[in-house]
């Protein structure tokens, strides 16, 4: 079958993306098996998977569909809280001891609820033009944080109790969500393998969506809304598709993240956290999925690698961020890099032509 050059490039890009992720997983798994991995790195594996999913899904909204979302951490917190409650419910009320089953159900539930919330926000806002989505998602992130601050959920005598604003749960109830104290007494069940599978699912979903008919429609709306509309593309529908998919994925990442720790607090999902994910996306390159994967990984590990700098750690981190931004955008450096890899590239091209 003959392939166009663009198609072949896309295929190569996808293969490289999957190969990198699967390769990294295999290397890390063998390191865990050999016990050559440091505690520090091992402890970060699940959070890294969560941040990769967060970055890739936000990239779908920002890079692919061209809308600015500033409340991605809000979706993550919806997923984290849902995951914690569902997992607690399954073990306390239905007495399901199988951790994998609980994890899967919790992640699916987290994704679903987050997706519903995403749809509720998207329906009115994505019909509008301009930067409304940025403003609304910004508000959404803050609203969610304040709502869970006064949310009380617990289980007792085979029932789920919930209370809002005031802790009016009966005596003897096992608290799952305790207002400002956050989700408490979570039994950590997230595993690196589960995180890896979630990353794979995310990549399959996002890369397939981007390279599908719907994906081309989404990109058309981003590049020129009027032209897309005149071609008969339903702009709201395709923007919704991207936004809700991203919300579902963020919810799933949130559930995995919440179930990785014994406790989750509302202050973990502030505006700053949304911006943090935005930084991953921007540094990885807008619309570049592989870039998001790499930047989310590196920027999560980097502050830990810089622990040797002690008090100057975050200062160095900021400097590194600025340097990366300068280096990836400086035309002189870019052309120098191009010249560096040019000899290898030419060989590749001629090799390709000969086939």
């Amino acid at each position: 079958m003959k392939m166009t050059k663009a198609k072949r490039n896309k295929l190569i890009y996808n293969i490289v993306t999957f190969a990198l992720v699967i390769g990294a997983f295999l290397i890390l798994q063998s390191m865990i098996a050999n016990k050559t991995i440091t505690r520090s790195l091992k402890g970060q594996l699940v959070p890294i998977c969560c941040w990769i999913v967060m970055a890739v899904s936000l990239n779908l909204v920002i890079g692919i569909s061209g809308e600015l979302s500033l409340g991605h951490a809000g979706f993550m917190s919806v997923g984290a809280y849902t995951g914690a409650v569902v997992s607690g419910l399954l073990i306390n009320v239905y007495d399901i001891q199988d951790a994998t089953l609980r994890l899967v159900v919790a992640i699916v539930a987290g994704g679903l609820l987050s997706g519903i919330v995403g749809a509720l926000i998207g329906i009115p806002v994505l019909r509008l033009r301009g930067d409304y989505l940025a403003i609304v998602t910004l508000a959404f992130g803050e609203i969610i944080r304040n709502l869970v601050n006064v949310l009380y959920i617990g289980t007792g005598d085979g029932r789920l109790y919930a209370s809002f604003l005031n802790k009016k749960l009966p005596e003897g109830v096992t608290m799952l969500v305790d207002g400002a104290k956050g989700a408490v007494k979570i039994k950590p069940i997230s595993t690196f393998t589960a995180g890896f599978i979630l990353v794979l699912i995310t990549l399959v979903v996002v890369l397939n969506l981007v390279n599908s008919r719907a994906g081309r429609a989404i990109k058309a709306c981003r590049d020129n809304r009027i032209a897309a509309e005149s071609m008969g593309v339903n702009v709201t529908k395709y923007k919704m598709m991207a936004f809700v998919t991203a919300a579902v994925l963020a919810g799933m990442a949130g559930a995995l993240y919440g179930l990785n720790s014994s406790t989750v607090v509302p202050t973990q999902f502030t505006f700053n956290q949304s911006i943090n994910v935005l930084v991953f996306v921007v540094l990885g390159g807008l619309g570049n999925v592989l870039g998001s994967v790499i930047s989310a990984t590196l920027l999560t590990i980097l502050p830990e690698m810089l622990r040797a700098f002690a008090d100057y750690r975050m200062l160095v981190y900021a400097v590194v961020l600025i340097l990366v931004m300068i280096f990836t955008n400086n035309p002189t450096i870019l052309s120098f890099m191009k010249r560096l890899i040019a000899p290898f590239k030419r060989k590749d091209v001629t090799g390709g032509d000969a086939q």
């Binding site: 440091t38 601050n149 400002a180 720790s261 973990q268 002690a310």
Partner: protein, 375 residues
Amino acid sequence: MKKLVALMMAIAMLLSVASAVAEEAITLKIAHIGPTTGAAALYGLATLHGAEVAVEEVNAAGGKYKIELINEDDEHNVEKVINAYNAALDAGAQMILGSTTSKPCEAAGAQGYVDRVFFLTPSASSTAVIEDKDNVFQICFTDPNQGKASAQYIAEHKLGTKVAVIYNNADVYSTGIRDTFVEEGKALGLEIVSETTFTDETTDFTVQVADAQNAGAEIVFLPIYYTPASLILKTAADKAFKPIFFGVDGMDGILSVEGFDTSLAEGVMLLTPFVATSTDEKVVNFVTKYQAAYNEIPIQFAADAYDGIYILIAAAEKAGITSDMSAEEACDLLIAAIQEITVDGITGSMTWDASGAVTKTPMAATIVNGEYVFE
């Protein structure tokens, strides 16, 4: 003669070898975990500095134990504290002095419970820190105990019956104390006439203070940190509202707020186990050294961490911890040992039970002429 000299030399050498063996100190690797950067850095730095003063003392004294202090920053973040904890163990920590703040300590302590690592926290005061874990012990009171002790103190000393509470409902520490204060207060016949809340971002307290004033409160209970408390005192002074303000350990430090007129704090009462102006010999020694090293007056967090180092040494001595023990090996020995010791520190005389909570006597101080005075 020659033989005698040789014999003496031999004896001398033998003695010096023997003394060298006896003097070879056991090195304890203690990791301090706390927020040394970020919004809660004030508290993390206080515990770190407090611990550093103690470590310097111990190492300079050249006793049986030498201490290698490892410091890891947790940014007051539940995710990062696990990284800090893992990095500390990678660096060879045998026991952990931390984490400074409640939520991170809860998360790291739970991980430590699975991995078997001993935690002694200077200042993480919520009950969730020690609940369901046998490996975490506290130096400070738990929040409910502070709320309870405050209500009992107010009732016993008949300071008044109409109480207003202003608390931070986005803060675990504040809500924890408030919950038990209200519960215990009602049982003791205190009437809660006004209850208002604020969050971390609040800078204007007119509404809260006016509510307390209109309700005719005789006592305003402030289970909060000193920065918002200073604003509340200022607002109350502007409104000519003069009840008794009653705070807890978070109020400690109010006299050092920059730009705050300390005369506004006259008559404020607070429960605290440590006051920097005390004339107690041990406290004076600590405060002098701390001031010399860091050029500031230590707050209670620093004092807790200072005691923490000595508690860890006392527990390690009782448990017979050696330099080459891993954190896992040391954990159960330390858990058993800390329940058998009594430590007389600068924050009081302390004992522990299996729950992990400390037993020590709370003390109420009143601010008179810009200084704490104990009843």
